[in-house]
């Protein structure tokens, strides 16, 4: 299993389940929930290094969820994943310190790559905050 934990948040259950399954098959330690509210509940109990977050969801939308997550858990990296491409929400998300904004459909390889990069950044930022320097390679 991967050294990092991923939480996928998407209200489309089919998409969510298949993505989580595919990530797990690729040895990514992944879990899924279907709403922003559930994501916050999940993070209270479970650790996550990277959250993959759908932008458009009923109830708390992805941007709001991002705002909460970054407030409560600044070290968690968030990748926004959207089926409704809009520059505005992308820019808003990045301004709120989302790691990236990806547009569906996204290739699994690319998503995993971005998750790993996000985890990497988290590591570096965490190191800068006081822990020992990174061991490269």
């Amino acid at each position: 299993m991967s050294p990092f934990k991923v939480l996928v948040v998407d209200d489309e259950r089919d998409f969510l389940e298949s993505l989580v399954r595919r990530l797990q098959r690729r040895s990514v330690d992944a879990a899924g929930v279907t709403s922003g509210e559930a994501a916050l509940e999940h993070l209270k109990v479970h650790k996550a290094d990277v959250v993959v977050l759908d932008v458009k969801m009923p109830g708390m939308n992805g941007i709001e969820a991002l705002r909460h997550i970054k407030q409560l858990y600044p070290e968690v990296e968030v990748i926004l994943l959207t089926g409704h491409a809009s520059v505005e929400s992308g820019v808003e998300g990045l301004a709120l310190e989302a790691f990236d904004y990806l547009i569906k459909p996204v290739k699994l390889d690319e998503l995993i790559e971005r998750i790993m990069e996000a985890f990497d950044r988290r590591k570096v930022v965490g190191d800068l905050a006081g822990s020992p320097p990174p061991k490269q390679g």
Partner: protein, 863 residues
């Protein structure tokens, strides 16, 4: 904080060396800056890739979807924003104008993407006789025209009303459908039949479950109450689509939209939702995609007309669609509702009326009409058997045919061109015009047989030329949705009945053969529009066509032959229109996103404020990031672990930045020698660079080699125009296991990145080459030349626009190092690619030499 300033302050103060802790902190900080830089580079790559995809779509001969355009534009803009963020992290407050420029560019791109505003004013419902006053924008073309038929020509049309496009917009808004539809289309792969079907059914479900806004319900109920159609009691309704763009020249949406027939007035709402849902039927969505119409612009008015319980009905063409020059009105007619003719379901009577004056019945072919559609006593329509006494009888009398022909000619004159007229006779023999639209014309020059002298290969002859031309392919019978999913590009589509639901397959079909049907059906007109040869109504003999058998369909010659016969050259079929709404939007978006106005970084106008396009912004951010990251690196007093100049016989224009453990310590002085470097990929690269000497000029002294390597990716024509710049040095960023080489000159940028560890799963070699300013042909030739060798090395290569990306992952360390070594060789030895591309002989010579050199490279030495 500016790191370089920080270093300078730190080290300018005095001789005492920084403590280990301080050095470690600085190194970590440098590594963080390096992350920002890499992130910026990767965003740069993503932005340019997305931009290249847009440009490819513009150059391509297919019509992209609006969702594709929107997706790629968003990817470009969002990545540009990432670049801005990262540049700001590298140099806080240094470029305050960037965000303003980005906002302005973003606004203009959004404007270019913007859809035509849906009507926000005007009535929700119009009486049919006033439909024309609402114009096509409100009534849709079909109902606007029908309103004029009654008002201006005095021909009978069914009494009724129009539920306008504004009502459609209201329903969509009331139910919040716009975003949901855009989202579903965005994530779908519409090229795949199964994905298309699933997406359409989801979207249609949204409509079917939608709520009718109360003000619309009230307006329709009032309108229906005011209808008092004499002789048509009890009132039943026919709900007919009247969609924007439906009747645009060359864009007939024939058969893609649903009509709801014989509807109980109190249940209009359900039927209405069913009709507007058909805006997202698979044929309609795929048709829009082929024709480049924007889904956002799709809006539908719906005619809500009194149902005519027809004794006979059909279609009249005021010209032969296959031979527009031949005068006369072609009438297809059947018993009962015209649906059977419109759907092309069953055989029907054919009449030809010569225009005269006076018009004369020139020809009549009476078919055996076993079935007809009639109104169900409760609701809907159903097929029934025709009584034996009527089967062989003509469904139109001579005088009725003439009356119809005269009406059709009147319509042709009034609307200035050949018309396709749907009509019905009520039980009393009164003629109603149900629909009237311009007749798409076939191409006369394609008339006639294209195959001759192949009688021994003839499989069948007969049928009706529904769309001229000839083509070969394997036979695929399609009866079910499952068959449709299995349908492959270039096959011959064989069907029992040419139903409109097979229209999405025509974009990929070589030809169409139907056992039933004729030239007047919906599928026939779509086939004509797509330029797919179609032979319909071939009769039971058609069923003998064996699945998978290779045949040649000569639709013009009304024959099918065994095997693939030679056909006279035909111009490539135009499957998309050159100028479509999506294409126009694409062109506008590209105009706002793609041009590069910032050329010379030395020019005083190279500022954030001068950035007018997304491409400008990427160029600016990239340039400044490189400067911020490295330009002061050569300054003295730079600490350990920062940039050191590479010394190989002499100081070279290459700098080494050790990110962690890539260099032997302790080091003194400002140079680093190859033997001090511990980075395995660096050594592999270096060996590749040097192992086989470069034979051409300039001679290879140390300084010369630096310039060789420097120029390896340069276009001399451009490089001369750009002053040497600190930012144009070449940098190796290294650790023990990692190598990142950035080399940029003028418009050319290449990067090599390698991560080589004992664990294959972590390993990566990636190479990116981008060269912007040569002419496209040479650019392509150069990329293709490189691609061949890179693929030969076992790398996955993709070319997007002017960028070549090669990648290999998860290979064992020795293979990765051999790959890096080969890349070192290639960078050195393909430096004059541009020049040799002009001469095929020299290309051959170099290709052979490079291939043999690559084969002779030894394995990389152990470090």
């Amino acid at each position: 904080m500016n790191l370089v300033e920080h270093f300078r302050r730190l080290f300018a103060q005095g001789p005492q060396p920084p403590g280990t802790e301080e050095v470690e902190r600085l190194r970590a900080e440098f590594a963080a800056r390096y992350r920002c830089f890499r992130d910026l580079l990767s965003a740069n790559q993503r932005a340019l890739e997305a931009l290249a995809e847009l440009e490819q779509a513009q150059a391509g001969d297919y019509s992209p979807t609006m969702a594709f355009v929107r997706g790629r534009v968003t990817a470009t803009a969002v990545n540009v924003f990432r670049m801005i963020q990262n540049l700001e992290a590298l140099a806080p407050d240094r470029y305050p104008g960037l965000r303003e420029s980005f906002k302005a560019v973003q606004a203009s791109v959004e404007a270019a993407l913007g859809s035509a505003p849906a009507p926000t004013e005007g009535p929700l419902v119009l009486p049919l006789e006033r439909a024309a006053s609402g114009g096509e924008a409100l009534s849709g073309p079909k109902m606007a025209v029908l309103g004029r038929v009654a008002a201006e020509l005095g021909l009978a049309v069914p009494p009724g009303l129009v539920i306008t496009t504004r009502a459609y917009a209201l329903v969509v808004k009331h139910n919040g459908l716009t975003e949901e539809i855009a989202r579903l289309l965005q994530i779908a792969d519409l090229e795949r039949m199964d994905s298309l079907l699933a997406t359409c059914s989801q979207i249609q479900g949204l409509f079917m479950r939608a709520e009718i806004p109360p003000e619309l319900a009230q307006a329709v109920q009032e309108g229906l109450a005011a209808l008092a159609p004499a002789g048509l009691e009890p009132l039943r309704l026919a709900l007919r689509s009247s969609a924007q763009g439906e009747d645009a020249p060359g864009a007939s949406f024939a058969g893609q939209f649903t009509s709801e027939l014989n509807v109980e007035p109190s249940r209009w709402d359900e039927a209405y939702l069913g009709v507007i849902a058909s805006l997202y039927s698979p044929p309609a969505v795929s048709y829009r995609r082929h024709m480049g119409l924007r889904d956002e612009d799709a809006a539908m008015a719906v005619g809500c007309l009194a149902m005519i319980p027809a004794r006979a009905g059909g279609v009249a063409y005021t010209a032969d669609p296959l031979d527009p020059g031949a005068p006369g009105v072609l009438i297809s007619s059947c018993w009962g509702l015209p649906k059977a003719v419109v759907d092309g379901t069953w055989d029907c009577d054919q009449f030809r009326v010569s225009p005269g004056p006076p018009p004369r019945l020139a020809d009549s072919q009476v078919a055996a009409k076993e079935r007809r559609y009639v109104c169900d006593p409760v609701e809907g329509v159903l097929p029934t058997l025709v009584g034996p006494e009527l089967r062989q009888e003509p469904s139109l009398s001579r005088s009725q045919a003439l009356e119809l022909a005269r009406a059709a000619l009147k319509l042709q004159e009034h609307f200035h061109g050949p018309q396709d007229v749907e009509w019905a006779l009520d039980q009393g023999g009164k003629l109603y015009i149900l629909q009237c639209r311009p007749l798409p014309s076939g191409r006369a020059e394609d008339q006639g047989a294209l195959v001759s002298g192949a009688e021994e290969k003839l499989i069948l002859r007969g049928g009706v030329t529904a769309s001229p031309g000839a083509a070969s392919g394997k036979v695929r019978w399609v009866q079910t949705g499952g068959d449709a999913v299995a349908f492959e590009e270039g096959e011959v589509l064989a069907v029992e009945q040419p139903l409109p639901r097979w229209a999405p397959l025509l974009g990929r079909a070589a030809a169409l053969v139907g056992v039933k049907g004729g030239a007047a059906g919906h599928l026939a007109s779509v086939a004509r529009e797509f330029g797919v040869p179609a032979l319909l109504g071939v009769g039971p003999g058609g069923r003998e066509l064996a699945p998978g058998r290779e045949v040649t369909v000569d639709a013009g010659g009304r024959a099918v032959y065994a095997g693939r016969l030679p056909l006279p050259g035909r111009p490539a079929m135009a499957k998309g229109l050159p100028d479509t709404p999506v294409r126009r939007a694409l062109a506008q978006v590209i105009a706002q996103a793609a041009p590069l106005n910032l050329l010379d970084p030395e020019d005083p106008s190279f500022t954030p404020e001068a950035c007018r396009t997304l491409h400008d912004l990427t160029r600016f951010c990239h340039q400044k990031a490189v400067e911020e990251m490295f330009s002061h690196a050569a300054q003295e007093h730079f600490p350990l672990n920062a940039a050191r100049q590479l010394y190989y016989h002499a100081p070279m224009q290459w700098w080494i930045i050790d990110l962690d453990d890539g260099v032997r310590r302790p080091l003194s002085g400002k140079y680093v020698r190859p033997e001090d470097i511990l980075c395995a990929p660096f050594h592999a690269f270096w060996e590749g660079l040097l192992e086989i000497p470069w034979q051409g000029p300039p001679p290879l002294d140390a300084k010369g080699m630096a310039s060789v390597m420097f120029q390896a990716t340069a276009n001399p024509a451009l490089a001369t125009g750009v002053k040497s710049n600190l930012a144009e040095r070449n940098y190796f960023l290294i650790t023990k296991e990692f190598l990142n080489l950035q080399s940029r000159v003028g418009f050319h940028f290449s990067s090599l990145e390698a991560m080589v560890t004992p664990l294959a799963a972590d390993n990566l070699v990636s190479f990116c080459f981008r060269g912007g300013a040569a002419d496209p042909a040479r650019r392509r030739a150069r990329l293709a030349f490189l691609e061949e060798f890179l693929a030969g090395l076992g790398m996955a290569v993709s070319i997007k626009g002017d960028a070549l990306l090669a990648r290999a992952e998860e290979l064992p360390a020795p293979e990765c190092l051999a790959m890096v070594k080969a890349l070192g060789y290639l960078i050195m030895h393909t430096r004059q690619l541009d020049m040799i591309m002009a001469s095929p002989q020299r290309v051959e010579h170099y290709r052979a030499k490079i291939a043999s050199d690559l084969a002779s490279l030894g394995p990389p030495a152990d470090v």
